[in-house]
C-alpha cells in the first residue's frame, strides 16, 4: 500500500519503569504488568524510577546515553556511519532538571547547563558522535511525538540520512509537587478512560528511535506514514472540551488514508477527567466507528517528554504484530462520554494494520502519528 509518507522506524531503545529495553516494556504490557509503587500523600503513586548505573553524567543524560547507544547499536555494527549524515532530535519537557534542582538546593555555582535543552542535546550528540544537525524540541507532553515529526521532515527534506529521536524526562520533586498543586495526580493509580479515573500517575523514562527514509534496507519495527499537529487555542493547562484541536491533528495525519485500515488507536490517555473525555470526542468525530483504543499510562505512568517516543515504539509493535495490549485500570467508561471500544482485561488480536498514536499537552499542543507495519517477513 502507498502512503503519503514513508519513514522507516529502523530500531528502537527504551528504559521505562518496566526495565531496560523495548522487549521488557512490550512483554510487560502484554502481561498487563503495572509498574506503580506507593509514594506519599502528595504523590500517592509514582511509576518505578529507572535505574541506569553511571558515574560521570547527570541522571537524565545517563538515561539518554543508554537509550541512544542501544538504538544505534545496529549502526555501530554496520560499519557505514562515516558516509551517513546522522541527526539528533532531543525531546524533553525539562531536560536535566533533577541535577539543576539538586545543585540549586546545595547552592552550587555555576550550575550545570543541562537544563538548557539545546546544551543537553549537544552534549549527547558529542558523546554519540552524531555528525549532522542537532536540535531540541519541547512541546509539553507532545514533545516526543513532535520530535518524531521534526525528524521525519528533516529526512524527507534531505537534511539527514538518518535521525535519532530521543525523548526523556525524569521524576523530580519540582515536577511531582507541581502536578500535585494542579490536583492532577491520582490517589489510586492512573486508570485511563475509566469511569472512576481520578488523575494521572507520573512516570520517568527515556526512549529512542532511529528513523530513515524509505525502507533503507532491513525490515524495521514499522513505518511512520502520516502525521499532523495542531493547537487548541483554548486554555493553557486544559484541553478543548469537544476535542476539536486534536481532531485537526488527526485529520492532518489521516489525509489520503483509508480510515477503515486503522486497526487501533494508542491514545494519550492520561487518566485525567478532561483529557480522556476530550480524546473520546476527537476519536468519535474522526471515525464513524473508532477502532479499538488503548493507553499504556495505566502501566508505566505519564512519562512526559518521553511518552510520545515510547508510544511510537509501542504503536509500531501493535501495527506489526496485530496485538493490542490491555489498558490497565480500565473497567467501564462514563456514560456521559462518547463510547469507545477500550481494550481491557486482556490483550486483543486485531490483525496487522495502521495504528494512530495521539498526544496532547499544556499550551494546547496536539500531535497525531500514523504508523504502518514494518515491511519485514
Amino acid at each position: 500500500m502507498t502512503y503519503p509518507h514513508n519513514i522507516q522506524i529502523a530500531s528502537a531503545g527504551a528504559i521505562t519503569p518496566m526495565g531496560l529495553g523495548v522487549d521488557s516494556l512490550w512483554q510487560g504490557l502484554l502481561a498487563g504488568r503495572v509498574a506503580f509503587s506507593p509514594a506519599d500523600k502528595i504523590r500517592p503513586y509514582v511509576a518505578a524510577h529507572c535505574e541506569i548505573p553511571a558515574r560521570d553524567a547527570s541522571l537524565n543524560l545517563r538515561r539518554c546515553m543508554a537509550l541512544a547507544l542501544e538504538s544505534t547499536r545496529e549502526l555501530a555494527s554496520s560499519g557505514e556511519q562515516g558516509s551517513l549524515r546522522r541527526a539528533l532530535v532531543l525531546a524533553s519537557t525539562k531536560g536535566e532538571l533533577d541535577q539543576w534542582e539538586l545543585q540549586r538546593a546545595m547552592r552550587v555555582t555555576p550550575l550545570e547547563r543541562g537544563i538548557i535543552l539545546s546544551e543537553m542535546a549537544l552534549e549527547l550528540a558529542e558523546r554519540l558522535g552524531v555528525n549532522g544537525r542537532v536540535l531540541a524540541t519541547s512541546t509539553a507532553c507532545a514533545s516526543g511525538s513532535f520530535a518524531a515529526i521534526e525528524a521525519a521532515e528533516m529526512l524527507e527534506d534531505g537534511d539527514a540520512d538518518e535521525a535519532l529521536v530521543t525523548g526523556v524526562d525524569g521524576l523530580s520533586l519540582f515536577i511531582e509537587h507541581g502536578f500535585a498543586s494542579l490536583q492532577a495526580l491520582s490517589k489510586r493509580g492512573a486508570r485511563p478512560f475509566d469511569l472512576a479515573r481520578d488523575g494521572l500517575t507520573l512516570g520517568e523514562a527515556g526512549a529512542s528511535v532511529l528513523l530513515r527514509r524509505g525502507t533503507g534496507g532491513g525490515s524495521g519495527l514499522g513505518r511512520l506514514v502520516g502525521w499532523g499537529a495542531s493547537n487548541d487555542a483554548n486554555h493553557i493547562s486544559g484541553p478543548s472540551r469537544d476535542g476539536g484541536g486534536l481532531l485537526l491533528a488527526i485529520e492532518r495525519a489521516l489525509t489520503g488514508i483509508d480510515r477503515s485500515s486503522v486497526v487501533a488507536i494508542c491514545a494519550h490517555g492520561t487518566a485525567t477527567r478532561y483529557n480522556d473525555a476530550m480524546e473520546a470526542h476527537a476519536f468519535t468525530r474522526a471515525f464513524k466507528q473508532p477502532p479499538p483504543v488503548f493507553s499504556i499510562k495505566g502501566n508505566i505512568g505519564h512519562t512526559l517528554g518521553a511518552a510520545g517516543v515510547i508510544e511510537l515504539i509501542i504503536s509500531s509493535l501493535v501495527a506489526s504484530s496485530g496485538l493490542v495490549p490491555a489498558t490497565a485500570g480500565f473497567e467501564r467508561q462514563s456514560p456521559d462520554e462518547p463510547a469507545l471500544d477500550i481494550v481491557h482485561m486482556q490483550t486483543r488480536q486485531v490483525g496487522r494494520g495502521l495504528v494512530l498514536s495521539t498526544n496532547s499537552g499544556f499550551g494546547g499542543m496536539n500531535t497525531a502519528l500514523l504508523i504502518a507495519p514494518g515491511e519485514g517477513p
Binding site: V134, T137, D157
Partner: protein, 274 residues
C-alpha cells in the same frame, strides 16, 4: 518556491521595531521605550511590560503571564495583530524558539519550594515552567490552531526557527507561519556556566506562501561544518536571539544576499531577496 516575509517585529532594550510590507514598500516603525511611557529598564534588560505597548485591544491575561509569555505575545501581536484580520487562523502554523526557555520561572518556582516546602507549590507558576507555554499563550491570544512547535538550537535558535518556517512554506506543509523567538533573562541565567550574553528580548516574523511583503526567503540549508566559520555573520551574543539583529539588517537592508550563521559545527544559511 520561496516564502514571503509579510511582517517583522522586534522587542529589545531600545524599544519596539515593526516592519510591514505595504503596497510593494516596507513600512518601518521604531518606537523607543520612553515614547511608550515605559518605566526604567530593570534587571531583565527591559522595562516592565504592559499590553498597551503592543496592542490597543484588551488583553486581561497579560498581567498574569510570565515574562517569556509577555515577550512572545507582545512580539506576535506587533507582527500579526490587526493587519491580518482576514487570515484563516486554523491554518497558521506557529514556530517558537528559545534557548533559555522557562529558566527564570523555573528558578522562581523552585525557590518557593525551597522556602515553603511542597505545600507552597504554586500551580500558577508551575504551568509556566514549560518552555513552550508562551506559544500556548500566543495561540490562545491570536486564535492560531495550526501546528505548534518549539525549536531550541542554542544561539542559532531564532534563525533555526525562521529557517524551519521557510521550509514549511517551501514544502507546502503550511500556507502561513508565525515565528516567535523570545528570551527571558534574569538572575537564573547568571547562575549557569553559560556566560551572560545579554538581556531579554523577542522577535517575530510572519511568512506566507504568497502576497506582497518585505521580501522573500528561501533556499534553506541546515549544514554541519559545510559553510565554515570564516564566513559566518557576526552577531552580538544574546542567547537564542544572537543573530536576530544581523538578520534584521539583511531583511530590511534592501539587497539580496545569502544569510549565513553558525555555532560550533552547526550552520544555517538562507537566501534573502527583495
Amino acid at each position: 518556491m520561496s516564502a514571503v516575509l509579510r511582517a517583522y517585529a522586534r522587542i529589545s532594550e531600545k524599544g519596539l521595531t515593526r516592519a510591514l510590507g505595504v503596497g510593494g514598500k516596507t513600512l518601518i516603525t521604531i518606537t523607543a521605550w520612553p515614547e511608550l511611557g515605559a518605566g526604567p529598564l530593570d534587571d531583565t534588560g527591559l522595562p516592565a511590560l504592559k499590553a498597551r505597548f503592543f496592542t490597543s485591544k484588551s488583553w486581561p491575561r497579560f498581567g498574569r503571564m510570565d515574562l517569556l509569555s509577555k515577550l512572545g505575545v507582545g512580539a506576535a501581536e506587533l507582527c500579526i495583530g490587526s493587519e491580518f484580520p482576514q487570515m484563516a487562523r486554523d491554518d497558521v502554523a506557529l514556530v517558537g524558539a528559545s534557548m533559555l526557555g522557562s529558566l527564570e520561572v523555573d528558578a522562581e518556582y523552585h525557590d518557593t519550594l525551597l522556602k515553603g516546602g511542597p505545600a507552597s507549590a504554586s500551580p500558577a507558576l508551575f504551568v509556566y515552567t514549560l518552555p513552550s507555554m508562551f506559544l500556548g499563550e500566543i495561540a490562545i491570544g491570536l486564535g492560531l490552531r495550526g501546528r505548534t512547535s518549539l525549536i531550541s538550537q542554542g544561539r542559532l535558535s531564532a534563525v533555526a526557527a525562521l529557517a524551519a518556517a521557510v521550509r514549511l512554506i517551501e514544502k507546502e506543509r503550511a500556507t502561513s507561519v508565525l515565528v516567535v523567538a523570545a528570551e527571558a533573562v534574569g538572575p537564573a541565567a547568571g547562575q549557569l556556566e553559560v556566560r551572560p550574553m545579554g538581556g531579554s528580548g523577542a522577535c517575530a516574523w510572519l511568512l506566507t506562501c504568497d502576497g506582497q511583503g518585505i521580501g522573500r526567503l528561501g533556499a534553506v540549508r541546515f549544514g554541519h561544518s559545510e559553510i565554515g566559520a570564516s564566513v559566518l555573520e557576526a552577531g552580538a551574543e544574546n542567547y537564542g536571539l544572537t543573530y536576530v539583529d544581523a538578520l534584521q539588517q539583511a531583511l530590511l537592508g534592501g539587497r539580496s544576499q545569502v544569510f549565513r550563521c553558525g555555532e560550533g559545527s552547526q550552520t544555517i544559511s538562507l537566501n534573502v531577496s527583495q
